[in-house]
């Protein structure tokens, strides 16, 4: 019994000492709105489209049916709309693009006040 009490007190003190060591260590938290985390170029954020021919392979590999492609009468790309309320950021549209025109940027702040603002036309029409 005495041995058990001794061992218990010893174990608790050992634990407290380990916890106390953290007083002298650096903090690991990020103060988010002021400090932004480092993101590698593989990060999958908002889409960027440049030089798309409108072949529609991204539409075929998209698992959540979030891509809408609209062409004009001359069969040129007119609109490329991504529905961010459906998109799951799996990156399939980027991985399987045959012309490498789809990229995903490091922009991850996607909150909007209106659902219709999440329907974004990302086709870059040039100057």
């Amino acid at each position: 019994m005495v041995k058990k009490i001794y061992l218990s007190i010893k174990a608790i003190l050992k634990g407290h000492f380990t916890v106390l060591k953290h007083l002298f260590r650096n903090s690991v938290t990020l103060e988010y709105p002021e400090v932004h985390p480092f993101l590698n170029h593989y990060f999958r954020g908002r889409h960027v489209l440049e030089g798309c021919r409108g072949c529609g392979l991204c539409k075929r590999v998209c698992p959540s049916d979030a891509i809408m492609i609209e062409k004009n009468d001359n069969n040129y790309l007119n609109k490329y709309v991504i529905d961010y309320s459906k998109c799951i950021f799996c990156g399939n549209c980027m991985f399987y693009c045959p012309t490498h025109s789809m990229k995903m940027s490091n922009d991850y702040e996607l909150a909007k006040t209106n659902k219709s603002q999440l329907l974004t036309d990302i086709y870059y029409k040039g100057v």
């Binding site: 634990g15 916890v19 590698n40 799951i88 799996c90 990156g91 399987y96």
Partner: protein, 362 residues
């Protein structure tokens, strides 16, 4: 005396999802238990029948969001075996390395939340600090923190993995596991809440189909990593404990983390000696006709044996996909082992089984 019926859940902070336990109480002692699952059902098996293989691949990570790489591996392995796709050796090593890192992250999260269930608050901050390192590393390589979409049919997406950083993270975790043990393992409060509580005997564990660390804690030598071909060249020990109570399940997981570190170091050593810079991106789109047939692939996930049944009739979409997950079997054993224990021990026993509800319901 009248018996009281008590609902535990569906929204309970320590059920890691939504599990409803209908308990029948005689005073403070439980007389019967009815676990009710299905609140997180997302029809991931039926979904496969309407999507092509490539469309379904990102969905596979969502079967269990804490260890997505294992499920990706099981599905990719099934497809590759069916279609006779050769996976290069370096890709197998990268897969093993990422799966073991994922096992570390999963066990660390289990450790923190289990101690939180028992009332200890500070270990949670420490385990989440180390898990954050692993998850940030995954984000750096694959692009996302939990839903990776990194394993593809025939290998991995790209080979630009930052080996030095992985080595630093793993070394750091190995040192920190000793610190966790200093705080937890001999603590008298932890011992009195876990020792000799929730005992699962050998026969009972086999009867209810337990796998993984829960089965090894009952003293049965069964680790499917020892018969998986990708683990052939790697050395590791299988952790066993004989008591089968909550404490031995904790001990098995703690020592398994050390073994994972050991496996990752062997993989890093192999990968550092080969040139990965000229390996092309692996993003090919399958246009050929799929092979017919059915296959059953397996992998040893952190929560037990995971199996993927895949049947193909030669179309672009799978004919049938079926998942066998470890958590489902850990949930149904509650019916047996919760009988006759005190109400205050329910969360101690349930937490030690490491159940993740999305995996139960799929």
């Amino acid at each position: 005396m009248d018996k009281m019926v008590l609902n535990l859940g569906p929204q309970h902070p320590s059920t890691h999802g939504v599990l409803r336990l209908i308990l029948e109480l005689d005073g403070e002692i439980i007389t019967s238990v009815e676990p009710e699952v299905g609140y997180l059902h997302r029809s991931l098996e039926k979904m496969a029948e309407s999507k092509s293989y490539i469309q379904y691949l990102p969905m596979v990570d969502r079967v269990d969001y804490l260890s997505g790489f294992f499920y990706s591996y099981a599905f990719c392995n099934a497809y590759e075996t069916l279609n006779h796709i050769q996976v290069p050796e370096y890709a197998n090593y990268i897969r093993v390395m990422f799966m073991e890192l994922n096992r570390l992250a999963s066990h660390l999260l289990w450790l923190g939340t289990y101690l939180l269930d028992l009332g200890a608050i500070s270990p949670m901050f420490y385990t989440f600090r180390e898990r954050e390192d692993v998850v940030t590393y995954f984000e750096k390589v694959t692009g996302q923190r939990l839903m990776y979409n990194y394993f593809v049919f025939g290998g991995v997406r790209h080979c630009d993995i930052y080996l030095d950083e992985a080595l630093r993270i793993v070394d750091n975790i190995y040192n920190k596991i000793d610190e966790y043990e200093d705080i937890i393992t001999e603590n008298p409060i932890f011992l009195s809440r876990t020792k000799d509580i929730g005992i699962i005997s050998k026969q009972k564990a086999l009867d209810w189909g337990l796998t993984g660390p829960n089965l090894r804690a009952s003293g049965i030598l069964q680790d499917y990593r020892s018969i998986m071909p990708i683990y052939d060249d790697l050395e590791f020990d299988i952790i066993l404990s004989s008591e089968g109570d909550c404490y031995s399940r904790y001990i098995v997981r703690i020592y398994e983390m050390r073994e994972s570190v050991y496996i990752i170091k062997q993989c890093i050593e192999y990968l550092q000696n080969i040139n990965l810079s000229n390996v092309p991106l692996n993003n090919f789109y399958h246009k050929q006709k799929q092979h017919e047939g059915e296959i059953y692939s397996f992998v040893e996930a952190p929560r037990g044996l995971t199996m993927c049944y895949l049947k193909s009739v030669g179309e672009d979409t799978p004919y049938r996909v079926k998942w066998r997950t470890g958590s489902y079997y850990s949930t149904q054993i509650l019916k047996d082992i919760l009988k006759g224990v005190y109400l205050s021990d329910v969360m101690s026993i349930y937490g030690s089984l490491d159940v993740v509800l999305p995996e139960v319901d799929r």
